[in-house]
Amino acid sequence: MTPLDPAYVKVLRVRGVLSWLLLLALAIVGVVASGPGLAALPGALTALILSGAVLTLVLPQRRYRAWAFDFGEDELHVSRGVMTQVHTIVPFRRVQHLDVAQGPIERRYGLAQLVLHTAGTHGAIVTLPGLDLAAATAMRDAIRGHIREEAS
């Protein structure tokens, strides 16, 4: 199995910071709404620092390490998930259409995700994030070539 591009950790970290900021905003709203309760302040601060450390330092690393893929001759293996580990196998000939997508954070680090759509229900959309843009495009073209070959 191949790991994702190491830059993907940074993407996950930025996302962690964003969710932490959201948490912070909620906490501030909560404090303002409930009035000045200085007694709870040390606890709240500790919680914020702890959650910040988990969201930006611990989780991104673990999430990154949970991802792996194997670009086979006629199928793609994708495994992911920290708690529940999920391993999906997508045969190329089952792919209906495919995208290379880039979010704003990913674009900043030159990364992209490959999205495979099949005709199924449960695993109909298989996403492989954290790829170098050139690699993602190459993989897309390889799968497209495979489908074309199959069709002819």
């Binding site: 006629d74 199928e75 998930g81 708690m83 529940t84 580990q85 999920v86 391993h87 999906t88 196998i89 997508v90 045969p91 190329f92 000939r93 089952r94 209906q96 099949t118 005709a119 199924g120 229900t121 449960h122 695993g123 109909a124 298989v126």
Partner: protein, 474 residues
Amino acid sequence: MSEEPGRRLHPATLVTGFLGALPQTILAIPGVLAFGRDFNLSRILYLAAGIAALTALLSLLRWLRFTYRLGEDALLIESGVLGRRRRVIPFDRIQDVSLEAGPLHRLLGVVRVKVETGGGGGDEGVLDSLGRGEAQRIRAVVRGGGEEQVEAQDTLPLFHMTLRRVLLFGLYNFSLVYLAAIAGLGRFFDDLGPGARAWLERKFDESALAGTDFADGAIVAATIVVVLLLGVVAGVVRTLLREYRFTLKESAGGLVRSRGLLTLSQAAVPLRRVQLGVIDTGWIRERRRWWGLSAQTVSAEGGKAGNQVLAPFAREHELAPLLAILKLPPPSPSGFTAVPKRGLARSGVHLAAVALLVAGPALVEPRLWFALLVWPALLGFAALQRRRHRWRLDGGHLFVRRGLLTRLTYIVPLAKIQTVTLSRAPLQRWLGLATLIVDTAGASAIGGPHLRNLGLEDARALATVLSDGAAGRG
């Protein structure tokens, strides 16, 4: 084919449209009346006549403004009284043309033509109503465009249900869902007012049982019996309405099914669209050796899920030829492997959470101690389910069995598998288990030929074999 002019629906549509819209408009009468103060009969009659006239005018306008046309390669429908809508349905996108006729339609000799494309949203192209000849013409033209359309032929049916069979099936279709509906009806009788209730109570007082503990027990017992009986009757009636004269015929590209008592429905199942077969039975039905067969189908664009019943209630020897047509092997009961027992440990942990929620009050109120029995009961159920969750790999097919009360057997051709997913939650990792999710085209979001809590080694080996089949390597 030359471009033909737009056609109107059958004039009988005026009648069906009018009568169809009437119930809704009548419901509006009380609302309108609420504005006035005096409720004399003539006023109500005038109002009703006015509303009826308005409804009639509307259905006339709708009929005048609705035209359809069979173009070169598409069906064109123009509709809308005020806003116009022009819909184009290309022939090669049409999955099926089904004909339906409700009681009123049959009286007037017309049918409702439904053009299904497999896209989202139910009413993609409904022509309600057309004469029988015109409906057949549209069907023929549309089917000329597709390569795999199915036409009913006057052949001997592959499967047919006699009235006796349908009624028997109805007995098995007794369901608690109807009981809920009936309970609602019971409240309606309560609402009839104190008069009805008092009459019942007086009748009861006259009997010798009145005033004893036995009387209360008798009322409860009688109620239970009545409700159960009503449940049975409701099941039979529902089944009769749906499955009456169930007939399955073979045709050029597949199978054609027709059924229904008041509303006759006809549907085609193109064989090329069939993904897998499901044999269903129940815990009593299996003992009495009754089975049902349905096929999971997919539309042209690969979007719409569909489970087509091919034989709802049949004997094994009746299913065999149907399975042969679907090119599916019969699932002989031997050779199945059950998922390992240690999966029960996981179910136990999950169910404990459920049981705690249910039995929570028992911790506070000692008299509710029996609620604590929920956990062993659920676990016992899970144990029985585990024993029935079995699988078999046979040549090019995966067989998966599941269910205790409703028992399903999936027959999945490996070549029809879309993706294979192995999922391991923390507890599963600890117990050396995995869930294997076998995705197929047209599968519904719930259920499917998945294997829960399979041994990890088996799961890995199976995933390899299944993905080989899906990729066409096997």
